[in-house]
Amino acid sequence: MQWDQIADVLSWIFISGGAFFALTGTLGIIRFPDVFTRMHGAGMVDTMGIGLILVGLMFQSPDAITVIKLGLILVFIFFTSPTTCYALARASLAAGFMPMKPRQIEIMTTQHKDVVVEKKAAKKKSKDKETKSSKT
């Protein structure tokens, strides 16, 4: 096996892994319930997503200076991402937002389940009505 083919396979593996982490991280930013949990998704994107994609690009670099530049971006993002998250968490705590307690999360999830069950029941009712009205 030539070195080019090995580099291509490694690049594919790293880039698909990075794409997976970037997509799931942003999905987490949309789906999580409050700021402090959304930071987990943002941290996933900043470390695993970005890191794996940049490492995958490193295998395709034509010369050494490109690898060094990619490494610089990587190191810089690895240092700034926790700093930003810390500043943001501190600012939102100072603004009066508190992290959710386990009890709150439990209430939220059960409420969500109740809402889903109610929606299903409502759909069934409306369907029954439709069938009844069509019969009559």
Partner: protein, 96 residues
Amino acid sequence: MMFAAAALAVLIALGLAMVRACIGPTVFDRILAINTAGTLTVVLISVYGFLTERPEFLDIALLYALINFIGTIAVTKYVSYEGLGYPVGDHDDGDV
């Protein structure tokens, strides 16, 4: 092909982050989403440089990472202290 796939994935992730930036209930959600979008833009610029076989784009990506960090910290400080100047009077919390 590989770079096009990476660019597509990063673009989709960017769109999802912008959705949170639009609907975010608090200002901190928006700052978080915009920070993520900026970080994804850094990768998008790098991938675009490789896609067009011009790796000089990495300089722009490095600069964008610097500006993104400074911008996020500045907006966070502006939101929490209602200004960007030095702390005054009894407002001795200092920097962010």
